[in-house]
Amino acid sequence: MKWQQFENKIKAALQGHQSEVDADAIWAAIEPQVDAMNRRKKRQGFVWFWLVGLALAVGAWGYFYQNENSSDIENRLQDMAVENIATHTPAPDNTGDNALNSIHPDKLNTTGDSEKIAQHIVQNKTPHSRRTENMQANIISQPEAEIAPTQLEIKPIYLTETSSINQEELLLKTEENIFTTPSPLPFLPIDLKYKDKNKQPDLPTINLVEKAPQPIYRKKYFLSAGIQGSISFVDRQLEAKDSNYTELLSLRERNERELEAFQFGLRLTLQHRSGLGLTSGLNFTQINEQYRYYSTVIKVDTVPGIKYLVINLDNDTIPIYGDVPLETKTSYKKEYYNNYRMIEVPVLAGYHLRHRNFSLAAQAGVFVNVGLNVQGKVLQSVSEDVDIEEADIYRSSVGLSYYFGVSAGYFINDNIEAYISPFMRYMPSNIANDNYGLKQNYNLYGVNIGAAWHF
Protein backbone atom coordinates (compact mmCIF):
# COMPACT_ATOMS: atom_id res chain seq x y z
CA MET A 1 0.00 0.00 0.00
CA LYS A 2 1.33 3.41 -0.90
CA TRP A 3 1.87 5.96 1.85
CA GLN A 4 -0.64 8.38 0.34
CA GLN A 5 -3.34 5.72 0.38
CA PHE A 6 -2.44 4.92 3.95
CA GLU A 7 -2.85 8.57 4.90
CA ASN A 8 -6.21 8.72 3.15
CA LYS A 9 -7.33 5.75 5.17
CA ILE A 10 -6.12 7.40 8.38
CA LYS A 11 -8.10 10.50 7.48
CA ALA A 12 -11.26 8.57 6.72
CA ALA A 13 -10.96 6.54 9.91
CA LEU A 14 -10.25 9.47 12.21
CA GLN A 15 -12.75 11.92 10.78
CA GLY A 16 -15.67 9.62 11.34
CA HIS A 17 -14.44 8.31 14.67
CA GLN A 18 -16.40 9.03 17.82
CA SER A 19 -14.55 8.66 21.08
CA GLU A 20 -16.40 7.28 24.01
CA VAL A 21 -17.19 10.09 26.37
CA ASP A 22 -19.44 10.73 29.33
CA ALA A 23 -21.33 13.67 27.83
CA ASP A 24 -23.26 14.18 31.08
CA ALA A 25 -20.02 14.72 32.97
CA ILE A 26 -18.85 17.21 30.36
CA TRP A 27 -22.20 18.98 30.57
CA ALA A 28 -22.12 19.03 34.38
CA ALA A 29 -18.67 20.62 34.24
CA ILE A 30 -19.64 23.38 31.86
CA GLU A 31 -23.26 23.94 32.91
CA PRO A 32 -22.64 26.76 35.42
CA GLN A 33 -20.56 28.63 32.86
CA VAL A 34 -23.17 28.05 30.18
CA ASP A 35 -25.80 29.44 32.56
CA ALA A 36 -23.67 32.49 33.25
CA MET A 37 -23.15 32.93 29.50
CA ASN A 38 -26.88 32.69 28.82
CA ARG A 39 -27.57 35.26 31.53
CA ARG A 40 -24.92 37.56 30.10
CA LYS A 41 -26.40 37.23 26.63
CA LYS A 42 -29.85 38.01 27.97
CA ARG A 43 -28.47 41.04 29.79
CA GLN A 44 -26.69 42.24 26.66
CA GLY A 45 -29.93 41.91 24.74
CA PHE A 46 -31.58 44.16 27.28
CA VAL A 47 -28.80 46.69 27.16
CA TRP A 48 -29.41 46.99 23.42
CA PHE A 49 -33.14 47.12 24.01
CA TRP A 50 -32.58 49.96 26.45
CA LEU A 51 -30.17 51.83 24.25
CA VAL A 52 -32.58 51.69 21.33
CA GLY A 53 -35.46 52.71 23.59
CA LEU A 54 -33.45 55.59 25.00
CA ALA A 55 -32.37 56.73 21.55
CA LEU A 56 -35.98 56.67 20.38
CA ALA A 57 -37.11 58.55 23.48
CA VAL A 58 -34.42 61.20 23.05
CA GLY A 59 -35.22 61.51 19.35
CA ALA A 60 -38.91 61.84 20.01
CA TRP A 61 -38.28 64.34 22.78
CA GLY A 62 -36.10 66.40 20.45
CA TYR A 63 -38.76 66.31 17.77
CA PHE A 64 -41.54 67.32 20.14
CA TYR A 65 -39.40 69.99 21.73
CA GLN A 66 -38.74 71.54 18.35
CA ASN A 67 -42.41 71.45 17.53
CA GLU A 68 -43.32 72.97 20.87
CA ASN A 69 -40.95 75.85 20.23
CA SER A 70 -42.13 76.46 16.71
CA SER A 71 -45.77 76.28 17.74
CA ASP A 72 -45.04 78.72 20.56
CA ILE A 73 -43.55 81.13 18.06
CA GLU A 74 -46.50 80.70 15.75
CA ASN A 75 -48.92 81.28 18.59
CA ARG A 76 -47.02 84.34 19.69
CA LEU A 77 -47.11 85.54 16.13
CA GLN A 78 -50.84 85.07 15.98
CA ASP A 79 -51.30 86.79 19.32
CA MET A 80 -49.26 89.75 18.15
CA ALA A 81 -51.17 89.89 14.92
CA VAL A 82 -54.46 89.96 16.76
CA GLU A 83 -53.22 92.59 19.13
CA ASN A 84 -51.89 94.75 16.34
CA ILE A 85 -54.98 94.37 14.27
CA ALA A 86 -57.07 95.39 17.22
CA THR A 87 -54.98 98.42 18.03
CA HIS A 88 -53.64 99.54 14.68
CA THR A 89 -56.04 98.51 11.99
CA PRO A 90 -58.35 101.34 11.11
CA ALA A 91 -62.06 100.76 11.27
CA PRO A 92 -63.33 99.05 8.20
CA ASP A 93 -64.13 101.40 5.49
CA ASN A 94 -67.22 100.19 3.73
CA THR A 95 -66.31 102.24 0.74
CA GLY A 96 -62.64 101.39 0.85
CA ASP A 97 -62.60 99.31 -2.25
CA ASN A 98 -59.24 100.84 -3.15
CA ALA A 99 -57.63 99.04 -0.28
CA LEU A 100 -58.35 95.73 -1.84
CA ASN A 101 -55.21 94.71 -3.57
CA SER A 102 -54.69 91.46 -5.29
CA ILE A 103 -58.22 90.15 -5.40
CA HIS A 104 -60.87 92.74 -5.78
CA PRO A 105 -64.33 91.77 -4.63
CA ASP A 106 -65.74 93.57 -7.65
CA LYS A 107 -64.20 90.82 -9.67
CA LEU A 108 -65.85 88.23 -7.54
CA ASN A 109 -69.19 88.18 -9.06
CA THR A 110 -69.77 84.54 -8.98
CA THR A 111 -70.16 82.08 -6.17
CA GLY A 112 -67.35 80.02 -7.71
CA ASP A 113 -64.83 82.80 -7.09
CA SER A 114 -65.84 83.13 -3.49
CA GLU A 115 -65.48 79.42 -3.06
CA LYS A 116 -61.98 79.64 -4.52
CA ILE A 117 -61.08 82.18 -1.89
CA ALA A 118 -62.53 80.05 0.83
CA GLN A 119 -60.54 77.10 -0.50
CA HIS A 120 -57.41 79.20 -0.66
CA ILE A 121 -57.81 80.12 2.97
CA VAL A 122 -58.40 76.55 3.95
CA GLN A 123 -55.39 75.35 1.98
CA ASN A 124 -53.13 77.88 3.58
CA LYS A 125 -54.04 76.95 7.12
CA THR A 126 -51.11 76.26 9.35
CA PRO A 127 -51.27 73.26 11.69
CA HIS A 128 -52.37 75.66 14.40
CA SER A 129 -54.87 77.41 12.25
CA ARG A 130 -57.82 76.38 14.40
CA ARG A 131 -56.78 78.93 16.92
CA THR A 132 -56.12 81.45 14.16
CA GLU A 133 -59.53 80.78 12.70
CA ASN A 134 -61.20 81.61 16.01
CA MET A 135 -59.17 84.75 16.24
CA GLN A 136 -60.15 85.73 12.75
CA ALA A 137 -63.74 85.34 13.71
CA ASN A 138 -63.16 87.61 16.68
CA ILE A 139 -61.20 90.11 14.64
CA ILE A 140 -63.93 90.39 12.11
CA SER A 141 -66.61 90.67 14.68
CA GLN A 142 -64.97 93.55 16.53
CA PRO A 143 -65.73 96.47 14.24
CA GLU A 144 -69.21 95.26 13.47
CA ALA A 145 -70.98 96.80 16.38
CA GLU A 146 -74.34 96.23 14.89
CA ILE A 147 -73.95 92.47 14.84
CA ALA A 148 -75.87 90.79 17.56
CA PRO A 149 -73.53 89.80 20.42
CA THR A 150 -74.69 86.22 20.40
CA GLN A 151 -74.05 85.69 16.74
CA LEU A 152 -71.02 86.32 14.66
CA GLU A 153 -71.02 86.67 10.98
CA ILE A 154 -67.85 85.70 9.27
CA LYS A 155 -67.00 88.13 6.56
CA PRO A 156 -64.81 87.11 3.65
CA ILE A 157 -61.12 87.72 4.14
CA TYR A 158 -59.40 88.97 1.04
CA LEU A 159 -55.79 88.03 0.77
CA THR A 160 -53.27 90.62 -0.30
CA GLU A 161 -49.76 90.36 -1.66
CA THR A 162 -48.39 90.45 1.86
CA SER A 163 -49.92 87.07 2.59
CA SER A 164 -47.10 85.43 0.68
CA ILE A 165 -44.44 86.94 2.93
CA ASN A 166 -41.56 84.68 3.68
CA GLN A 167 -42.06 82.75 6.89
CA GLU A 168 -38.55 83.45 8.20
CA GLU A 169 -38.94 87.11 7.50
CA LEU A 170 -42.25 86.99 9.29
CA LEU A 171 -40.66 85.41 12.35
CA LEU A 172 -37.87 87.97 12.40
CA LYS A 173 -40.33 90.76 12.13
CA THR A 174 -42.45 89.21 14.83
CA GLU A 175 -39.43 88.97 17.10
CA GLU A 176 -38.71 92.63 16.44
CA ASN A 177 -42.29 93.42 17.17
CA ILE A 178 -42.22 91.63 20.49
CA PHE A 179 -39.46 93.82 21.73
CA THR A 180 -40.59 97.11 20.19
CA THR A 181 -44.27 97.08 21.04
CA PRO A 182 -46.17 99.36 20.82
CA SER A 183 -44.46 100.48 17.63
CA PRO A 184 -46.79 100.31 14.67
CA LEU A 185 -47.08 96.93 13.12
CA PRO A 186 -44.85 97.07 10.04
CA PHE A 187 -46.38 94.07 8.46
CA LEU A 188 -49.57 92.20 8.38
CA PRO A 189 -49.94 88.86 6.78
CA ILE A 190 -53.48 89.62 5.82
CA ASP A 191 -55.31 92.72 4.97
CA LEU A 192 -58.85 92.81 6.22
CA LYS A 193 -61.26 94.93 4.33
CA TYR A 194 -64.95 94.76 3.87
CA LYS A 195 -66.59 95.36 0.69
CA ASP A 196 -69.45 97.74 0.48
CA LYS A 197 -72.62 95.99 1.50
CA ASN A 198 -74.10 96.56 -1.89
CA LYS A 199 -71.09 95.07 -3.59
CA GLN A 200 -70.55 92.13 -1.28
CA PRO A 201 -70.25 88.92 -3.23
CA ASP A 202 -72.60 86.21 -2.39
CA LEU A 203 -70.34 84.25 -0.12
CA PRO A 204 -71.43 81.57 2.29
CA THR A 205 -72.08 82.82 5.78
CA ILE A 206 -71.27 80.72 8.76
CA ASN A 207 -73.17 81.36 11.89
CA LEU A 208 -71.41 80.49 15.05
CA VAL A 209 -72.86 80.57 18.49
CA GLU A 210 -70.62 82.89 20.36
CA LYS A 211 -69.26 81.54 23.54
CA ALA A 212 -68.74 83.92 26.35
CA PRO A 213 -65.01 84.54 26.53
CA GLN A 214 -63.56 82.49 29.33
CA PRO A 215 -60.32 83.50 30.98
CA ILE A 216 -57.78 80.74 30.51
CA TYR A 217 -56.23 79.61 33.74
CA ARG A 218 -53.35 77.24 33.41
CA LYS A 219 -53.29 74.83 36.33
CA LYS A 220 -50.11 74.72 38.30
CA TYR A 221 -50.42 71.07 39.29
CA PHE A 222 -52.03 68.13 37.56
CA LEU A 223 -53.09 64.96 39.26
CA SER A 224 -53.47 61.61 37.61
CA ALA A 225 -54.24 58.11 38.82
CA GLY A 226 -53.62 54.93 36.94
CA ILE A 227 -53.15 51.20 36.88
CA GLN A 228 -50.40 49.28 35.19
CA GLY A 229 -49.08 45.79 34.83
CA SER A 230 -46.13 44.02 33.29
CA ILE A 231 -44.38 40.75 32.66
CA SER A 232 -40.64 40.97 32.99
CA PHE A 233 -37.49 38.93 32.54
CA VAL A 234 -35.74 37.89 35.69
CA ASP A 235 -32.01 37.94 36.18
CA ARG A 236 -31.26 36.12 39.42
CA GLN A 237 -27.91 36.36 41.13
CA LEU A 238 -27.04 33.62 43.55
CA GLU A 239 -23.73 33.86 45.31
CA ALA A 240 -22.03 31.81 48.02
CA LYS A 241 -21.03 33.82 51.08
CA ASP A 242 -17.91 31.70 51.51
CA SER A 243 -16.35 28.51 50.18
CA ASN A 244 -18.34 26.31 52.60
CA TYR A 245 -21.45 27.03 50.57
CA THR A 246 -20.15 26.51 47.05
CA GLU A 247 -21.64 23.03 46.96
CA LEU A 248 -25.03 24.37 48.01
CA LEU A 249 -24.68 27.10 45.40
CA SER A 250 -23.91 24.56 42.70
CA LEU A 251 -26.83 22.37 43.83
CA ARG A 252 -29.30 25.22 43.70
CA GLU A 253 -28.02 26.54 40.40
CA ARG A 254 -28.32 23.10 38.86
CA ASN A 255 -31.83 22.49 40.09
CA GLU A 256 -33.48 25.88 39.90
CA ARG A 257 -34.12 28.24 37.09
CA GLU A 258 -35.72 31.63 36.99
CA LEU A 259 -38.89 31.94 34.95
CA GLU A 260 -40.57 35.33 34.80
CA ALA A 261 -41.89 38.05 37.04
CA PHE A 262 -45.13 39.87 36.79
CA GLN A 263 -46.24 42.93 38.57
CA PHE A 264 -49.18 45.24 38.73
CA GLY A 265 -49.82 48.37 40.64
CA LEU A 266 -51.74 51.53 41.25
CA ARG A 267 -50.06 54.86 40.56
CA LEU A 268 -50.85 58.38 41.68
CA THR A 269 -48.90 61.15 39.98
CA LEU A 270 -48.71 64.78 40.92
CA GLN A 271 -47.22 66.75 38.09
CA HIS A 272 -46.10 70.35 38.05
CA ARG A 273 -46.81 72.34 34.92
CA SER A 274 -43.05 72.47 34.29
CA GLY A 275 -43.24 68.74 33.59
CA LEU A 276 -41.65 67.52 36.80
CA GLY A 277 -43.75 65.00 38.64
CA LEU A 278 -43.82 62.77 41.66
CA THR A 279 -45.36 59.31 41.53
CA SER A 280 -46.32 56.95 44.30
CA GLY A 281 -48.82 54.18 44.82
CA LEU A 282 -48.85 50.50 45.60
CA ASN A 283 -47.15 47.70 43.72
CA PHE A 284 -47.31 43.93 43.77
CA THR A 285 -44.47 41.91 42.27
CA GLN A 286 -44.25 38.15 41.94
CA ILE A 287 -41.07 36.43 40.80
CA ASN A 288 -41.53 32.87 39.61
CA GLU A 289 -38.91 30.16 39.57
CA GLN A 290 -38.90 26.48 38.85
CA TYR A 291 -37.29 23.91 41.09
CA ARG A 292 -36.67 20.53 39.47
CA TYR A 293 -34.90 17.64 41.08
CA TYR A 294 -34.30 14.09 39.91
CA SER A 295 -33.11 11.61 42.48
CA THR A 296 -32.95 7.96 43.45
CA VAL A 297 -33.16 7.05 47.11
CA ILE A 298 -32.28 3.62 48.41
CA LYS A 299 -33.79 2.97 51.79
CA VAL A 300 -32.99 -0.09 53.87
CA ASP A 301 -35.53 -1.08 56.53
CA THR A 302 -35.83 -4.16 58.70
CA VAL A 303 -39.10 -6.01 58.60
CA PRO A 304 -40.17 -9.25 60.29
CA GLY A 305 -39.78 -12.19 58.00
CA ILE A 306 -38.07 -15.50 57.42
CA LYS A 307 -34.52 -14.94 58.45
CA TYR A 308 -33.27 -18.35 57.41
CA LEU A 309 -34.41 -21.93 56.94
CA VAL A 310 -33.15 -24.89 58.89
CA ILE A 311 -33.39 -28.44 57.65
CA ASN A 312 -33.42 -30.87 60.53
CA LEU A 313 -32.35 -34.47 60.57
CA ASP A 314 -35.83 -35.57 59.52
CA ASN A 315 -35.44 -33.45 56.42
CA ASP A 316 -38.08 -30.98 57.63
CA THR A 317 -37.57 -27.38 56.63
CA ILE A 318 -38.07 -25.08 59.58
CA PRO A 319 -38.29 -21.33 58.97
CA ILE A 320 -36.58 -19.15 61.54
CA TYR A 321 -38.31 -15.82 61.83
CA GLY A 322 -36.65 -12.55 62.67
CA ASP A 323 -35.88 -9.06 61.33
CA VAL A 324 -34.77 -9.13 57.73
CA PRO A 325 -33.46 -6.16 55.71
CA LEU A 326 -35.75 -4.73 53.06
CA GLU A 327 -34.20 -2.48 50.43
CA THR A 328 -36.53 0.03 48.82
CA LYS A 329 -35.29 1.92 45.79
CA THR A 330 -37.28 5.00 44.88
CA SER A 331 -36.61 7.14 41.83
CA TYR A 332 -38.43 10.39 41.80
CA LYS A 333 -38.66 13.65 39.99
CA LYS A 334 -39.65 16.72 41.94
CA GLU A 335 -40.93 19.82 40.29
CA TYR A 336 -42.12 22.86 42.17
CA TYR A 337 -42.79 26.43 41.25
CA ASN A 338 -41.32 28.86 43.72
CA ASN A 339 -42.95 32.25 44.14
CA TYR A 340 -41.46 35.32 45.72
CA ARG A 341 -44.21 37.88 46.30
CA MET A 342 -43.49 41.43 47.24
CA ILE A 343 -45.66 44.38 48.22
CA GLU A 344 -43.98 47.68 47.54
CA VAL A 345 -44.53 51.39 47.62
CA PRO A 346 -42.95 53.16 44.66
CA VAL A 347 -41.54 56.65 45.11
CA LEU A 348 -40.57 57.96 41.72
CA ALA A 349 -39.56 61.32 40.32
CA GLY A 350 -40.05 61.98 36.68
CA TYR A 351 -40.19 64.41 33.84
CA HIS A 352 -43.25 64.41 31.59
CA LEU A 353 -43.71 65.96 28.19
CA ARG A 354 -46.93 66.26 26.28
CA HIS A 355 -47.46 67.24 22.70
CA ARG A 356 -51.02 67.15 21.48
CA ASN A 357 -52.19 63.61 22.16
CA PHE A 358 -48.77 62.13 22.73
CA SER A 359 -46.74 62.06 25.88
CA LEU A 360 -43.26 61.02 26.88
CA ALA A 361 -41.85 60.56 30.33
CA ALA A 362 -38.79 59.33 32.14
CA GLN A 363 -39.01 58.17 35.72
CA ALA A 364 -36.51 57.04 38.30
CA GLY A 365 -36.76 56.27 41.96
CA VAL A 366 -37.07 53.56 44.53
CA PHE A 367 -39.51 50.83 45.44
CA VAL A 368 -39.82 50.49 49.19
CA ASN A 369 -40.53 46.88 50.00
CA VAL A 370 -43.04 46.48 52.78
CA GLY A 371 -43.40 42.73 52.71
CA LEU A 372 -41.96 39.56 51.17
CA ASN A 373 -43.83 36.29 51.08
CA VAL A 374 -42.26 33.13 49.69
CA GLN A 375 -43.63 29.78 48.67
CA GLY A 376 -41.95 26.66 47.30
CA LYS A 377 -38.97 24.44 47.95
CA VAL A 378 -35.21 24.63 47.61
CA LEU A 379 -32.48 22.08 48.13
CA GLN A 380 -30.61 22.22 51.40
CA SER A 381 -28.30 19.28 50.74
CA VAL A 382 -27.87 16.73 47.95
CA SER A 383 -31.11 14.89 48.60
CA GLU A 384 -32.91 17.09 51.09
CA ASP A 385 -35.16 19.92 50.18
CA VAL A 386 -36.90 22.34 52.48
CA ASP A 387 -40.11 24.26 52.32
CA ILE A 388 -39.03 27.87 52.02
CA GLU A 389 -42.25 29.08 53.56
CA GLU A 390 -41.43 27.31 56.81
CA ALA A 391 -37.64 27.34 56.81
CA ASP A 392 -36.03 30.48 58.07
CA ILE A 393 -34.29 31.29 54.79
CA TYR A 394 -35.85 34.48 53.51
CA ARG A 395 -36.44 37.88 55.03
CA SER A 396 -39.88 39.27 55.63
CA SER A 397 -39.02 42.51 53.85
CA VAL A 398 -36.10 43.38 51.61
CA GLY A 399 -35.63 47.14 51.71
CA LEU A 400 -35.17 49.22 48.61
CA SER A 401 -34.94 48.44 44.96
CA TYR A 402 -34.11 50.97 42.26
CA TYR A 403 -36.27 51.69 39.26
CA PHE A 404 -35.68 53.43 35.98
CA GLY A 405 -38.19 53.62 33.19
CA VAL A 406 -39.24 55.62 30.20
CA SER A 407 -42.74 55.76 28.84
CA ALA A 408 -44.62 56.78 25.76
CA GLY A 409 -48.31 57.49 25.99
CA TYR A 410 -51.33 58.44 23.94
CA PHE A 411 -54.27 60.47 25.19
CA ILE A 412 -57.41 58.68 24.05
CA ASN A 413 -59.42 61.68 25.17
CA ASP A 414 -58.83 64.68 27.43
CA ASN A 415 -58.64 62.50 30.52
CA ILE A 416 -57.57 59.01 29.63
CA GLU A 417 -54.04 58.19 28.67
CA ALA A 418 -52.76 54.76 27.65
CA TYR A 419 -49.06 54.20 27.92
CA ILE A 420 -46.28 51.70 27.50
CA SER A 421 -43.19 51.89 29.63
CA PRO A 422 -40.03 49.80 29.38
CA PHE A 423 -38.27 49.64 32.71
CA MET A 424 -35.53 48.03 34.70
CA ARG A 425 -35.43 47.33 38.38
CA TYR A 426 -32.24 46.69 40.23
CA MET A 427 -32.75 44.91 43.53
CA PRO A 428 -29.39 44.95 45.29
CA SER A 429 -30.72 43.72 48.64
CA ASN A 430 -30.14 40.13 49.57
CA ILE A 431 -33.56 38.57 50.03
CA ALA A 432 -32.11 35.71 52.11
CA ASN A 433 -31.50 35.93 55.81
CA ASP A 434 -28.05 36.74 57.15
CA ASN A 435 -27.62 33.24 58.58
CA TYR A 436 -28.21 31.60 55.19
CA GLY A 437 -25.08 30.69 53.22
CA LEU A 438 -26.14 32.19 49.91
CA LYS A 439 -26.90 35.70 48.77
CA GLN A 440 -29.83 35.96 46.44
CA ASN A 441 -30.91 39.06 44.60
CA TYR A 442 -32.66 39.97 41.37
CA ASN A 443 -32.79 42.37 38.48
CA LEU A 444 -35.98 42.72 36.49
CA TYR A 445 -36.35 43.99 32.95
CA GLY A 446 -39.78 44.44 31.47
CA VAL A 447 -42.41 46.57 29.86
CA ASN A 448 -45.31 48.07 31.77
CA ILE A 449 -48.60 48.65 30.06
CA GLY A 450 -51.01 50.97 31.80
CA ALA A 451 -53.76 53.53 31.68
CA ALA A 452 -54.09 56.74 33.66
CA TRP A 453 -56.94 59.10 34.36
CA HIS A 454 -55.93 62.77 34.34
CA PHE A 455 -58.13 64.87 36.61
Binding site: I10, H17, W27, I30, V34
Partner: protein, 186 residues
Protein backbone atom coordinates in the same frame (compact mmCIF):
# COMPACT_ATOMS: atom_id res chain seq x y z
CA UNK B 1 -34.53 17.41 16.75
CA UNK B 2 -33.08 18.76 13.52
CA UNK B 3 -29.66 20.36 13.36
CA UNK B 4 -31.20 23.71 12.40
CA UNK B 5 -33.54 23.63 15.42
CA UNK B 6 -30.65 22.66 17.66
CA UNK B 7 -28.57 25.59 16.41
CA UNK B 8 -31.50 27.98 16.75
CA UNK B 9 -32.12 26.79 20.31
CA UNK B 10 -28.46 27.25 21.23
CA UNK B 11 -28.50 30.72 19.70
CA UNK B 12 -31.42 31.72 21.89
CA UNK B 13 -29.80 30.20 24.97
CA UNK B 14 -32.15 27.24 25.47
CA UNK B 15 -30.48 24.90 27.90
CA UNK B 16 -32.15 21.77 26.58
CA UNK B 17 -30.69 22.41 23.14
CA UNK B 18 -27.27 23.17 24.57
CA UNK B 19 -27.34 19.92 26.50
CA UNK B 20 -28.41 17.99 23.41
CA UNK B 21 -25.60 19.53 21.40
CA UNK B 22 -23.07 18.41 24.00
CA UNK B 23 -24.59 14.95 24.06
CA UNK B 24 -24.59 14.65 20.28
CA UNK B 25 -21.17 16.02 19.39
CA UNK B 26 -19.01 15.33 22.46
CA UNK B 27 -17.67 12.07 20.99
CA UNK B 28 -16.73 13.54 17.65
CA UNK B 29 -15.09 16.61 19.17
CA UNK B 30 -13.25 14.58 21.78
CA UNK B 31 -11.63 12.63 18.95
CA UNK B 32 -10.37 15.91 17.53
CA UNK B 33 -9.08 17.09 20.90
CA UNK B 34 -7.42 13.77 21.66
CA UNK B 35 -5.41 13.94 18.47
CA UNK B 36 -3.73 17.11 19.68
CA UNK B 37 -3.72 16.80 23.46
CA UNK B 38 -0.94 15.26 25.48
CA UNK B 39 -3.28 13.00 27.41
CA UNK B 40 -6.92 12.14 27.97
CA UNK B 41 -7.41 14.65 30.82
CA UNK B 42 -6.07 17.48 28.73
CA UNK B 43 -8.33 16.43 25.84
CA UNK B 44 -11.37 16.64 28.12
CA UNK B 45 -10.36 20.08 29.37
CA UNK B 46 -9.98 21.24 25.78
CA UNK B 47 -13.35 19.72 24.96
CA UNK B 48 -15.04 21.71 27.73
CA UNK B 49 -13.46 24.92 26.51
CA UNK B 50 -14.47 24.03 22.96
CA UNK B 51 -18.12 23.73 23.95
CA UNK B 52 -18.02 27.01 25.84
CA UNK B 53 -16.46 28.66 22.81
CA UNK B 54 -19.11 27.10 20.55
CA UNK B 55 -21.94 28.43 22.73
CA UNK B 56 -20.47 31.89 23.00
CA UNK B 57 -19.80 32.15 19.24
CA UNK B 58 -22.79 30.30 17.87
CA UNK B 59 -24.42 33.60 16.87
CA UNK B 60 -21.60 34.04 14.38
CA UNK B 61 -22.19 30.68 12.74
CA UNK B 62 -23.73 31.06 9.32
CA UNK B 63 -25.61 28.06 8.04
CA UNK B 64 -23.88 28.19 4.67
CA UNK B 65 -21.17 25.77 5.75
CA UNK B 66 -21.22 22.51 7.64
CA UNK B 67 -21.95 22.94 11.34
CA UNK B 68 -19.76 19.97 12.19
CA UNK B 69 -16.83 21.41 10.27
CA UNK B 70 -17.30 24.74 12.04
CA UNK B 71 -17.21 23.03 15.43
CA UNK B 72 -14.16 20.98 14.43
CA UNK B 73 -12.33 24.15 13.48
CA UNK B 74 -13.07 25.60 16.92
CA UNK B 75 -11.87 22.39 18.57
CA UNK B 76 -8.66 22.45 16.53
CA UNK B 77 -7.94 26.06 17.39
CA UNK B 78 -8.64 25.50 21.09
CA UNK B 79 -6.37 22.47 21.06
CA UNK B 80 -3.55 24.38 19.43
CA UNK B 81 -3.90 27.14 22.00
CA UNK B 82 -3.45 24.58 24.73
CA UNK B 83 -0.21 23.33 23.29
CA UNK B 84 2.87 25.38 23.94
CA UNK B 85 3.83 27.36 20.91
CA UNK B 86 7.49 26.49 21.38
CA UNK B 87 6.88 22.88 20.46
CA UNK B 88 6.00 23.91 16.90
CA UNK B 89 9.15 25.95 16.37
CA UNK B 90 11.66 23.12 16.35
CA UNK B 91 13.26 23.73 13.03
CA UNK B 92 14.12 20.36 11.62
CA UNK B 93 16.13 19.27 8.67
CA UNK B 94 13.88 17.99 5.94
CA UNK B 95 13.85 14.25 5.71
CA UNK B 96 13.12 12.14 2.76
CA UNK B 97 9.61 10.96 2.23
CA UNK B 98 8.86 7.52 3.70
CA UNK B 99 9.45 4.59 1.49
CA UNK B 100 6.43 4.14 -0.75
CA UNK B 101 6.53 0.38 -0.36
CA UNK B 102 7.03 0.26 3.36
CA UNK B 103 3.37 0.06 4.38
CA UNK B 104 2.26 -3.45 4.11
CA UNK B 105 -1.47 -3.91 3.59
CA UNK B 106 -1.76 -6.49 6.35
CA UNK B 107 -0.31 -4.02 8.86
CA UNK B 108 -2.99 -1.49 8.19
CA UNK B 109 -5.69 -4.13 8.12
CA UNK B 110 -4.84 -5.18 11.67
CA UNK B 111 -4.78 -1.69 13.14
CA UNK B 112 -7.98 -0.30 14.59
CA UNK B 113 -8.88 3.38 14.79
CA UNK B 114 -7.99 3.53 18.48
CA UNK B 115 -4.56 2.06 17.66
CA UNK B 116 -4.10 4.70 14.99
CA UNK B 117 -5.07 7.37 17.49
CA UNK B 118 -2.51 5.99 19.88
CA UNK B 119 0.15 5.88 17.19
CA UNK B 120 -0.44 9.48 16.25
CA UNK B 121 -0.75 10.45 19.90
CA UNK B 122 2.75 9.11 20.54
CA UNK B 123 4.27 11.55 18.06
CA UNK B 124 5.95 14.63 19.59
CA UNK B 125 3.41 17.48 19.99
CA UNK B 126 4.73 19.59 17.10
CA UNK B 127 4.82 16.73 14.63
CA UNK B 128 1.46 15.50 15.82
CA UNK B 129 -0.19 18.87 15.36
CA UNK B 130 1.18 19.39 11.86
CA UNK B 131 0.35 15.83 10.82
CA UNK B 132 -3.22 16.15 12.09
CA UNK B 133 -3.73 19.55 10.52
CA UNK B 134 -2.34 18.52 7.16
CA UNK B 135 -3.50 14.94 6.81
CA UNK B 136 -6.77 14.81 8.78
CA UNK B 137 -8.05 18.39 8.72
CA UNK B 138 -6.83 19.17 5.17
CA UNK B 139 -5.19 22.50 5.98
CA UNK B 140 -2.48 23.74 3.61
CA UNK B 141 1.08 24.40 4.77
CA UNK B 142 0.41 28.12 4.41
CA UNK B 143 -2.62 27.88 6.73
CA UNK B 144 -0.72 25.69 9.19
CA UNK B 145 2.13 28.17 9.22
CA UNK B 146 -0.30 30.99 10.03
CA UNK B 147 -2.07 29.02 12.72
CA UNK B 148 1.06 27.83 14.48
CA UNK B 149 3.06 30.99 13.87
CA UNK B 150 5.83 29.08 12.11
CA UNK B 151 7.28 29.20 8.63
CA UNK B 152 5.92 27.08 5.80
CA UNK B 153 9.27 25.29 5.56
CA UNK B 154 9.02 24.29 9.22
CA UNK B 155 5.54 22.98 8.65
CA UNK B 156 6.76 20.85 5.74
CA UNK B 157 9.74 19.50 7.62
CA UNK B 158 7.64 18.67 10.69
CA UNK B 159 5.20 16.79 8.51
CA UNK B 160 7.99 14.82 6.88
CA UNK B 161 9.44 13.94 10.28
CA UNK B 162 6.03 12.95 11.53
CA UNK B 163 5.55 10.63 8.57
CA UNK B 164 8.98 9.13 9.08
CA UNK B 165 8.36 8.51 12.76
CA UNK B 166 4.98 7.04 12.03
CA UNK B 167 6.52 4.70 9.51
CA UNK B 168 9.07 3.56 12.09
CA UNK B 169 6.37 3.00 14.64
CA UNK B 170 4.31 0.96 12.21
CA UNK B 171 7.35 -1.14 11.49
CA UNK B 172 7.96 -1.67 15.20
CA UNK B 173 4.32 -2.47 15.69
CA UNK B 174 4.45 -5.19 13.08
CA UNK B 175 7.07 -7.02 15.08
CA UNK B 176 5.54 -6.40 18.49
CA UNK B 177 3.18 -8.43 20.65
CA UNK B 178 0.59 -5.75 20.24
CA UNK B 179 0.40 -6.41 16.53
CA UNK B 180 0.02 -10.09 17.14
CA UNK B 181 -2.68 -9.47 19.72
CA UNK B 182 -4.46 -7.12 17.35
CA UNK B 183 -4.27 -9.82 14.69
CA UNK B 184 -5.78 -12.29 17.11
CA UNK B 185 -8.55 -9.83 17.98
CA UNK B 186 -9.35 -9.45 14.32
Amino acid sequence: MTEARLIQGCKSGEKDCQYLLVKQYAGMLLTVCRRYARDEAMAKDILQETFLRIFSNIDKYEPTGSFEAWMRRIAVRRSLQWLEKSCFRQEAQPLEMPDEKSIEPEVYAQIGTEDLMQLIGNLPPGYRAVFNLYVVENYSHQEIADMLDISEATSRSQLTRARHLLQQKLHQLKHSDHYEMAAVRK
